[in-house]
């Protein structure tokens, strides 16, 4: 890390930086030493920063021929034992999906940043959206678990980038860092305090080499990885595999391995879950929002509270696996729930399922503009007054 970045991440340094810059700083601080990507608005500033910074810390930056190859390179680097990431947006996230599924199935730790811009297709490259919530979870074919984090501010992009690398290593899983164009390119005065951060390390194979099984989940459902050069015999494939790592379609072995894969994240929810509840304890109306919409909702909640209305905000920070228990608790007294989001109802669908029986209303904007506090406050006020 060079002097400027050290100063930025020092204990009390306050500096004006953008969300994408914070992401690059977080990656370096987390120990990321490999980036492969293909530039795309509005994520390119991450690649731009890392292209300069990674060589200074003996890391590698590669601009690949496209997003498919970038994702493959990230997986390869991680299998080589290096913390690796890529960053993209819009169509680029679609292109990465096949290999994201590979990383999930083969359990390769890696971090994928997706800055959400307007879609579908090429859509609106310079405008914000929150329409990749479902793609981040279900974008690759087949059934697989994945971790998705949704920060809402520049300082949280930094801290969640640190956490993304930790969770990827600890859970042997791809982790998607998902945020909108507004906070990606927004510059804010922040104090980045990663000083006390101790980066998580991967569970490497140890013990007798002859007994090593690359996909034996052990006691915590997370298999130990063979570090290249340590002499453990291993095999990695996108085909369904048994504990040995070799392909199999034998029903019992397939069921056993996939069941472990699916249980893996559930067993580590204490580590993974993160959410925030603001004024929810007595709330008649609970707003559920992420990213810039949650920032607008925070102001709306304060405006409603000033009017004496019992309105609260629930904000998932880990979005997938969805913090269901925490939402149910936050909305325990709610008569109505309002979901402002920059899409046609992806988060609302989740909330409706989790809070079945509670009236859930969506506030959807997909014009390429951010939802304003006054729009949210107006709807929340009407709901709180029973209109």
């Amino acid at each position: 890390m060079n002097a400027i970045d050290t100063a930025l991440t020092g204990k009390s340094a306050v500096k004006l930086i953008s969300g994408n810059h914070a992401c690059a700083l977080g990656a370096i601080a987390a120990g990321c030493r490999f980036f492969a990507g293909y530039p795309i608005t509005p994520s390119s500033e991450i690649a731009e920063r890392l292209a300069r910074r990674l060589p200074e810390v003996d890391g590698v930056f590669v601009q690949m021929e496209d997003e498919i190859a970038s994702m493959a390179a990230v997986i390869g680097a991680s299998m080589g034992g290096v913390k690796a990431m890529t960053a993209t947006s819009g169509p680029g996230f679609s292109l990465k999906q096949e290999n994201i599924g590979y990383a999930a199935g083969a359990e390769i730790p890696c971090v994928i940043v997706n800055v959400m811009r307007g879609g579908p297709s090429t859509g609106m490259p310079t405008r914000p959206s929150q329409a990749d919530i479902m793609q981040a979870r279900w974008g690759s074919h087949g059934d697989y678990p994945i971790i998705v984090l949704t920060p809402a501010s520049v300082s949280e992009i930094y801290s969640e980038t640190l956490r993304a690398f930790d969770l990827a290593e600890q859970c042997r899983s791809p982790v998607v860092l998902l945020y909108d164009q507004v906070i990606a390119q927004l510059s804010e005065t922040v104090a980045l305090d990663g000083a006390g951060h101790a980066s998580a390390t991967r569970k490497w194979a140890s013990g007798p080499r002859a007994a090593y099984q690359p996909y034996d989940g052990g006691s915590d459902a997370i298999p130990a990885m063979a570090r290249p050069g340590d002499g453990y015999r291993t095999h990695t494939t996108g085909l369904t595999h048994s504990e040995s790592g070799f392909p199999t379609q034998q029903p019992e072995a397939v069921t056993r391995n996939l069941s472990r894969l699916f249980s893996k994240l559930e067993r580590h929810r204490d580590l993974i879950d993160s959410s925030e509840a603001l004024h929810c304890d007595d709330a008649d109306v609970v707003i559920v929002a992420i990213g810039i919409s949650a920032r607008a909702a925070t102001r709306a909640v304060e405006q409603c509270r000033a009017q004496g209305l019992r309105v609260g905000l629930f904000r998932p920070i880990t979005f997938w696996p969805f913090p269901e228990k925490q939402l149910r608790q936050a909305a325990a007294k709610a008569r109505a729930v309002l979901v402002p989001e920059m899409n046609t109802g992806q988060l609302r669908l989740v909330v409706e399922r989790v809070l079945a029986g509670v009236a859930v209303e969506g506030l959807h904007l997909f014009s390429g503009e951010a939802i304003t506090p006054s729009d949210i406050a107006a709807r929340a006020t009407a709901l709180a007054r029973g209109a």
Binding site: V14, V182, E188, T189, T298, R299, A370
Partner: protein, 191 residues
């Protein structure tokens, strides 16, 4: 909830350096201990399309970082009028370039129609219109200490352009005074 929130927009077209001037002002304010959020809207065309660079300034943490009610507006192209005018607070400060933004809608604003781009041209390059505008904004709004804005301009300027940018900033401080003296500008306060 009422907090001491000030919102500023610099509007024009891509390529005018609007985001740079906003970043310079944001850096200067942050150095003075303010909490600042600086955002922008731009078109994929980058050059020539509508662009604005906004600041939200507060003594405490900025909750919602996007502008919703402008206290100060700088207009460097007529394209910026339509998206910005509805956001103006009554009595807001409006600084517009006489050449690039010749006509302004009516309203109860502190309006300064100033020869910003012409001043830049006279200094040798239209490219420093953004810095002339920044100087005019600082002079007319007192939003920021002059020493801090000068430090921020220095920090952001490549060495070869330093003299030109500092001249542009200082010309910007004085442009409203000179314009009024030379009857070059429509200075329209509270109409």
């Amino acid at each position: 909830m009422q907090d001491a929130r000030i919102e500023i927009r610099i509007g024009g077209t891509g390529g005018q350096g609007l985001i740079l001037s906003a970043k310079i002002l944001a850096d200067a304010l942050a150095a003075g201990g303010k909490h600042v959020a600086q955002s922008q809207t731009y078109e994929p065309t980058s050059r020539g399309g509508y662009c604005n660079a906004d600041l939200v300034i507060s003594d405490g943490e900025v909750d919602f970082p996007i502008t919703t009610a402008l206290d100060q507006l700088v207009l460097l192209d007529r394209l910026a009028i339509k998206p910005s005018w509805p956001l103006l607070k009554p009595g807001a400060l409006v600084i517009a370039d006489t050449r690039l933004c010749p006509e302004l809608p009516a309203g109860n604003y502190r309006r300064y129609h100033l020869p910003l781009s012409r001043t830049a041209l006279e200094l040798g390059s239209e490219r420093v219109t953004n810095i002339v505008a920044l100087g005019a904004l600082v002079a007319l709004s007192n939003i920021c200490d002059r020493k801090r804005i000068e430090q921020a301009v220095r920090a952001e300027t490549p060495r070869g352009f330093l003299d030109l940018n500092m001249d542009a900033l200082k010309a910007g401080y004085a442009v409203h005074v000179q314009a009024a003296a030379g009857n070059n500008a429509e200075v329209n306060v509270g109409t």
